[in-house]
């Protein structure tokens, strides 16, 4: 069966009208519509499967690792389609190990650990609930003795470490000012960077790190 007949088959199965070529174009394999799908590359098969899933405008789309086998452009197309489907009103449920992708498109994120749902929330909600939600990096010409202990003692600071004259404190957002303030008092501050916890950090904090 060619790519097009696969999509036609899916449309027929769902009792839906629709243009198979439009679906193939949406997933970006128009050029291969008349080729046998068994000869498709992994990424093309993935795209074809997405076209078959999109056939008939389903209300719920369940995608398992939708971006595996796709090049960066393909992954971007996939992300765009997920967004479009969500805007159309469909619910899109997908699993992924690529946390940037999850962060980019998801309204709600569930973290699975050892088969158990460790947390479900929006990314912001997860950040809040996880506590260790951000980082502040302060680069100093020299880190004075005792500063680490002082900062570790601050409310809302979870961890402090020093590498190459840069002090890194994992802390909640409200504690960041106090951290910077103490560093400023104690020595010469050359640079300050702050960041919010990435989903990766959240994932690690929910699943307890480790292997």
């Amino acid at each position: 069966m060619t790519g097009r007949t696969h999509v036609e088959f899916a449309l027929e199965a769902k009792g839906a009208g629709g243009d198979p070529d439009a679906l193939l174009e949406r997933v970006g394999i128009t050029g291969a519509a008349d080729r046998r799908a068994v000869d498709y590359s992994k990424g093309m098969k993935q795209r074809l499967m997405l076209a078959m899933a999109l056939a008939g405008d389903p209300e719920l789309l369940i995608l398992d690792e939708p971006t595996t086998g796709l090049d960066p452009n393909g992954a971007r197309t996939m992300r765009k389609i997920v967004q479009e489907e969500a805007d159309r009103g469909a619910t899109v449920f997908f699993s992924s190990h690529i946390l940037e992708q999850v962060e980019a498109v998801c309204d709600r994120v569930g973290i699975l650990n050892q088969g158990h749902l460790a947390a479900v929330d929006t990314i912001d909600g997860l950040r809040e609930a996880a506590g260790a939600t951000g980082q502040v990096r302060v680069t100093m010409d020299a880190v004075p003795d005792g500063l680490i202990e002082t900062i570790e003692g601050l409310d809302g600071v979870n961890s402090v470490s020093i590498t190459d004259g840069t002090l890194v404190a994992g802390c909640e957002n409200p504690a960041k000012g106090a951290v910077v303030h103490h560093c400023y008092e104690a020595g010469t501050v050359e640079d300050v960077e702050t960041s919010e916890a990435s989903l990766e950090d959240l994932f690690v904090s929910y699943t307890g790190g480790g292997a």
Partner: protein
């Protein structure tokens, strides 16, 4: 039901891309040519049922073998290639897939047996032998039912197997048991029950009845009154009917047995697949 038929149609159409189908098709064609050639070779000895009889006898072996060969990979092959998951992600149920494949293959095999009969009849007729239409139609019906039994067995095993090797071994194993070893099984059981020595005395009635639970014998018993001139073509692989005509050789009993052979294997396979973790 529509979805089931969609699977059946897909199954039928998919066959056109299948290399095995061409081998099997050539076999059916050759069988038809051979029967037509032989019957046509001595037209004075032939009657209107000769072509139908010969074709049905040939299909009892070649047709059933082809039915097993073309059906045994239908579900498990899809399972191992991932096609099954794709089908199930569309609005098809496991039931649609199993029974759809079953009907699709059955239709395919019935079509191929029609090819054999039509080719045989055509060639015999051209060589001057008489060809009756009613026996031909009867042979088409009997061959189709018989092939349905073997498609059911092989599709059922295919649905119930976790890998292709098991499905193939099981299907061909059952084919051999039904065609060649069925009649020996009671003897083996009696031999074991008798302390691994040859049993003595008259054959018990259960052992006699066993021979008529075989699908080919049951089909013959079912149809011998309706098609007395072609049903005996099935007897090459079936126990003969005793003089006393016990109840298990009655047509209605044969009908029940045949029905069970068509319905139960594919259903058992479906039930196994229904609970399977894919």
């Amino acid at each position: 039901m529509n979805r089931l038929l969609q699977i059946a149609r897909k199954d039928f159409r998919d066959a056109a891309r299948d290399r095995e189908l061409y081998v099997a098709g050539a076999l059916f064609l050759l069988l038809g040519l051979a029967i037509g050639y032989i019957v046509g070779g001595s037209p004075e000895q032939a009657d209107g049922a000769s072509v139908a009889f010969g074709s049905l006898a040939g299909l009892t072996f070649i047709g059933t073998l082809a039915a097993v060969a073309l059906s045994q990979n239908q579900i498990v092959g899809k399972r191992s290639s991932g096609e099954l998951r794709v089908l199930l992600s569309l609005p098809f149920s496991r039931r649609d897939v199993v029974y759809g494949s079953f009907f699709g293959r059955w239709a395919l095999l019935a079509t191929m047996s029609i090819v054999t009969l039509v080719v045989a009849a055509g060639l015999a007729f051209l060589r001057g032998a008489p060809v009756g239409v009613a026996p031909l139609l009867g042979a088409i019906v009997l061959a189709s039912v018989l092939l349905g039994v073997f498609v059911s067995l092989a599709v059922g095993l295919s649905a119930g197997s976790e890998n292709t090797a098991r499905a193939a071994a099981g299907s061909f194993g059952i084919f051999i048991v039904v065609l060649f070893l069925w009649g020996q099984l009671p003897g083996i059981v009696r031999y074991v029950l008798n302390g691994f020595s040859s049993p003595t005395g008259a054959t018990p009635s259960w052992a006699k009845a066993w021979g008529h639970l075989q699908p080919i014998a049951a089909l013959r018993n079912l149809s011998v009154d309706v098609f007395p001139d072609i049903a005996p073509a099935l007897s090459a692989f079936a126990n003969s009917i005793p003089e006393s005509q016990p109840v298990y050789t009655e047509p209605w009993f044969g009908a029940l047995v045949v029905l069970a052979w068509v319905v139960l294997p594919v259903t058992a396979g479906y039930l196994k697949l229904r609970g399977a973790d894919l």
